[in-house]
């Protein structure tokens, strides 16, 4: 199917982009890698009047790491750049791993991590672990810049807090404090290249065998990636024994609110929430120890 007609704009600076966004108004969409946007357009689900490509804006590119301030992933940084960046791999291994597990080579060489978050699929591979790590979206708009933690960023399938006229410029990931570890776990019932049926991101802070802090985020089991707060409370202050991990899994699966679709039944999703939560906590605790 040929794409419908639309105006294509390719600003060179953020200011110009914000101005164009304000001028063109409704029906204007931002384009990063286009792996979500162009698919929707090709299938006729979306008929934009104007498309603003972000690729030419240097300030939105690149990945920066500062040992004090943490990691900044620019809005046009490709999934593959995130997956293979030495600093990301060294200091934020689960962030690199989640990006590496997203889609396939072709998509990772076109699609961006920011686009993955802005697209706001409940199953987005990069959302759970970033949310668990307290990452925030850096958003520029006519009134200046604001920052929104990812656990308040998603509003529903395909919906985020980004207002018309705003652009996400970067994702900021705070430094992982010492004694903390992270993990990303996901499963799709068929094959390795598939949208996750369930995904879990976790960050735990350990004091010896005892878990003093835990953040657990479940993907693809609710309209948005969700914090499993009761599960977090359950493990806080406890040694992560096999029994506790199993209990935590059961608790997480109770918090999950999955639907049944082509990819998996709700029952399977609940069961996998339990399995993956246990595995994520275990792996994060092991990472914290190292």
């Amino acid at each position: 199917m040929p794409l419908p007609k639309f105006e294509y704009l390719s600003p060179k600076s953020l200011e110009e982009a914000l101005q164009l966004l304000a001028d063109r108004g409704e029906g204007t969409h931002l384009l990063a890698g286009g792996t979500d946007l162009l698919v929707k357009m090709a299938h006729g689900h979306l008929k934009p009047r104007a498309v603003i490509a972000l690729k030419q804006i240097d300030a939105l590119g690149g990945i920066r790491f500062d040992p004090g301030k943490g990691l900044f992933i620019g809005a046009t940084a490709l999934l593959d750049e995130v997956a293979s960046h030495p600093d990301v791999k060294a200091h934020f291994p689960s962030v690199a791993y989640a990006a590496q597990q997203t889609a396939n080579v072709q998509i990772r060489n076109m699609g961006t991590l920011a686009g993955n978050l802005c697209n706001a699929a409940p199953s987005a591979d990069n959302a759970p672990v970033l949310t668990a790590m307290g990452a925030e979206a850096v958003i520029a708009g006519p009134k200046g810049e604001r920052r929104v933690a990812l656990d308040r960023f998603f509003k529903g399938p395909g919906q985020t807090v980004i207002e018309p006229g705003e652009i996400l410029t970067a994702v900021h990931v705070p430094v992982i404090p010492s004694g903390f570890g992270t993990s990303y776990q996901h499963v799709s019932p068929r094959g390795k290249v598939d949208i996750a049926a369930v995904c879990v991101g976790a960050m735990v802070g350990m004091d010896g065998a005892t878990c003093k802090e835990a953040r657990i985020v479940l993907g693809a089991v609710a309209p948005v990636p969700m914090r499993a707060e009761k599960t977090e409370a359950l493990v806080r202050g406890k040694a992560l024994t096999p029994e506790i991990l199993e209990k935590a899994g059961r608790q997480a699966s109770e918090e999950a609110r999955p639907i049944s679709d082509m990819r998996a039944g709700a029952e399977y999703r609940k069961r996998m929430t339990a399995v993956l939560t246990g595995r994520a906590l275990k792996q994060a605790a092991e990472a914290a120890a190292n």
């Binding site: 396939n104 499963v187 019932p189 068929r190 094959g191 390795k192 290249v193 598939d194 949208i195 082509m262 990819r263 039944g265 399977y268 069961r271 996998m272 399995v275 993956l276 595995r279």
Partner: protein, 750 residues
């Protein structure tokens, strides 16, 4: 004996490789004729309904539209076995069945026209399960097929065509059995062979009774000779374009041909009909469904004493040539199960889902995947190692079997025990096999298991091929054989065989375009027959052309023909290369030397392939994954090592081994809609999922043709599903009985 060729068995580039990777190969979608129109199809949203009214007035008024057809004004052509498939019918029988056709200056205009067609349906009750379809009160798909059963027997295979296997005395056989496996097993993933390129054709009427069809096809002659009787006109010329994969599904593209030919006739202009990916998913060829209900008895020593049961063959909404698939499947089963007592009945059943048709594995994969679980149960009870069982039971020289035409044949090929044993050793079977339902290894939540299955086919010598080889004075050879290129590289392999060894460099040998008008008869690249049957005709023709050349040269060189040899466009006295003449001197410039030959079918040399698989199952998530596969075979002689490797690796994907795990057409059983008819939701193995893969290929010369080779292309997939089922059962310690082995099913079993 290996000095007779500088090409056979050595790697070299496929002749079309460069054109494909540089985008210069011409596929059907690249082809454009003057005045050509584009066709689209309006498809039924109902699984079963009567078309009560259809109004095309608005559609005809859409600018650029040249023809709109409905069941009321299409030609009365019929196809299928027996004839019952119409171009369009007043009844629709699956979601996606054709209701109206449009041809227009652009695809967009044709689509707009169809959007303007008004249809009234009277929905009817639909049936999606073979047992339900056979029940007395089931909705009936065709008046001509009461009870939704299509009669067995494929006319081309003669009056005794196999519809099952009836031999000996099964009652007596079961009395002699030490262990019996029994049950109902389903291989009903109705996977899609899904070649990269969806089907497409162009139809052009050159005269009122002359139709030319360009088609993406694996077997051009099927259009000329299979279509001909049903269309009721004297002359079809079929031209095969470069074909982007087929896996059996594009032998001929019946509905695209019907649609394009009907529209081209109505519009008086050539019409291109290329199916979309969605149409390939929902309205083209699916693998048949297969359900076996029955029993198998064996003795402790691995002798099969009896096989009895009912094989329900689900052909979907129409019957293309399932009778042939039933016949071949029954033949193939006898090659792997030596048994004196049989009572197996095949029944072809219609259901309201998109139609099944020809898919590689052609009956055998379907039958074995559903029946072998019963055998495995018996082997488990008798504690017999499956490798020992297959070694004992696989057909051996001197053994007899009934083939597809119901006639008995005696195997005059080779003993494949050695290929099986060498495969087992290389795979590490004897180390990894711990007994039935015992995992090879358990590592936390990961359980490893192994499985093996075999398959063989006496189709490698089936049907007829004719070829003609022409030597030209400038030192070139042209092979005239109606062979299309559907991905296996057979056109290039024929060039290796044609110059019979050492005559010409490969770039001096060409093959004629696959066009039925200019070539002798060729049945097509089906059933692994390319190497022996097609190759046999080409080799004989080449030898005759060579003999003609040497006969002319003999008096000029003052030597006997038998003393002469020819290399690189020169004829010379053997051992005296200085006493020679160039071909141009021998022939002059206004002559060619040629030879013609015909290959007649021969069912006496079966081929063989064993697949060993190792799987790992995550008992937490229920996911099973293949870790390693080993294919063991004997091909007589390797013609093209890379092409062979490609064929063996072809066991994955395209409705092969992976139908055991995730390749599945998922049908909504209330509406009849396909739920995963797109490339993201329909699961295929990707490069990230590729397991380890090894081959063990023996080369024991076969009594076939000069190079002693047999083909194995088609059979690489067939043992896959049952081998994976066995491996997963062993990993879990639970006997698994159905496909696909989804996480859901595995977790339930635990």
């Amino acid at each position: 004996m290996r000095t007779d060729s500088r090409f056979i068995g050595r790697p070299s580039h496929r002749q079309d490789a460069r054109a494909i990777v540089t985008g210069r190969a011409e596929f059907i979608d690249d082809l454009k004729l003057r005045g050509m129109l584009y066709a689209r199809v309006l498809r039924s949203p109902f699984a079963h309904a009567r078309v009560v009214a259809v109004d095309t007035e608005k559609a005809e008024a859409v600018p650029g539209v040249k023809a709109v057809l409905t069941h009321k004004n299409v030609p009365d052509w019929k196809a299928g076995t027996p004839f019952h498939i119409r171009v369009l019918d007043s009844k629709v029988r699956f979601v996606g069945d054709g209701v109206a056709l449009a041809a227009a200056e652009s695809e967009r205009a044709a689509e707009e026209a169809l959007e303007a067609v008004h249809v009234e349906y009277e929905p009817l009750e639909a049936v999606f399960d073979v047992d339900e379809a056979l029940a007395g009160d089931a909705p009936q798909l065709y008046e001509a097929f009461p009870g939704n059963v299509v009669p067995g027997g494929f006319p081309l295979y003669g009056p005794d065509c196999l519809t099952g296997i009836r031999l000996g005395d099964v009652e007596q056989g079961f009395r002699e059995a030490d262990a019996v496996g029994e049950g109902t097993y389903k291989y009903e993933t109705v996977a899609n062979p899904l070649p990269l390129e969806p089907p497409g054709v162009i139809a052009h009427w050159e005269g009122p009774d002359r139709l030319t069809i360009w088609a993406a096809t694996q077997s051009a002659s099927w259009h000329r000779f299979v279509m001909l009787p049903s269309l009721g006109f004297p002359d079809i010329r079929a031209i095969a374009t470069q074909c982007g994969g087929s896996f059996g599904s594009k032998n001929y593209s019946l509905m695209p041909c019907f649609y394009a030919a009907a529209l081209a006739r109505a519009a008086g202009r050539p019409v291109k009909m290329c199916f979309s990916k969605e149409e390939q998913f929902g309205a083209y060829t699916l693998r048949p469904g297969s359900r076996f209900k029955g029993r198998i008895g064996i003795r402790k020593d691995g002798t099969v004493t009896a096989v009895s049961g009912s094989w329900l063959f689900d052909t979907g909404a129409c019957s293309d040539i399932p009778q042939a698939q039933v016949a071949v499947g029954c033949g193939e089963l006898q090659l792997m199960l030596r048994c004196a007592n049989w009572d197996l009945t095949g029944t072809i059943v219609l259901t309201n889902r998109p139609p099944s048709g020809v898919v590689r594995g052609f009956g055998g994969q379907e039958l074995e995947s559903a029946l072998l679980p019963a055998l495995f149960e018996a082997l488990e009870k008798a504690a017999i190692d499956p490798v020992d069982f297959f070694r004992k039971n696989y057909v051996k020289p001197g053994d007899a079997y009934l083939w597809r035409n119901g006639k008995p044949y005696v195997d005059r090929g080779v003993d494949y025990s050695e290929a099986l044993e060498r495969g087992a050793e290389t795979f590490g079977w004897h180390r990894k096999w711990k007994g039935w339902l015992v995992p090879t290894r358990v590592d936390g939540q990961t359980r490893i298991g192994v499985g093996v299955s075999v398959h063989g086919n006496a189709d490698v010598g089936e049907d007829v091929s004719e070829a003609h080889v022409r030597l030209t004075p400038d030192g070139r050879a042209v092979v005239h054989a109606c062979v299309s290129e559907s991905g296996s590289g057979q056109r290039s392999s024929l060039c290796r065989m044609a110059p019979e060894g050492r005559q010409l460099p490969l770039d001096r040998v060409g093959v004629s375009p696959p066009d039925t008008l200019v070539n002798p008869f060729e049945f097509g690249l089906v059933g692994s027959r390319g190497t022996w049957a097609v190759g046999g005709a080409v080799i004989s023709a080449a030898e005759k052309a060579r003999a003609a050349l040497l006969a002319r040269a003999a008096p000029l060189l003052g030597a006997g023909e038998e003393e002469l040899d020819t290399t690189d466009g020169r004829v010379y006295v053997r051992g005296r290369s200085d006493r020679g003449l160039s071909w141009s001197r021998v022939m002059g410039i206004v002559r060619t030397c040629s030879g013609s030959a015909r290959y007649e079918e021969d069912f006496t040399v079966p081929n063989f392939l064993a697949l060993f698989v190792e799987v790992e199952v995550d008992t937490g998530t229920g996911k099973a994954a293949v870790r390693e596969v080993l294919a063991a075979t004997d091909v007589g002689r390797i013609i093209d090592p890379q092409a062979l490797e490609g064929q063996l690796r072809g066991c994955f994907g395209a409705a092969g081994l992976d139908t055991a795990l995730f390749e599945e057409t998922v049908l909504d059983r209330t509406t009849g809609r396909i739920l995963n008819g797109n490339m993201i939701d329909y699961k295929w193995r990707t490069f990230r999922d590729l397991p380890g893969f090894r081959n063990v290929i023996l080369e024991t010369p076969m009594p076939t043709h000069r190079f002693g080779a047999v083909g194995v292309g088609e059979i690489s997939t067939s043992p896959g599903p049952s081998a994976v089922l066995m491996a997963v059962s062993n990993a879990l310690g639970v006997r698994m009985t159905g496909y696909p082995l989804t996480p859901q099913r595995i977790l339930e079993a635990l």
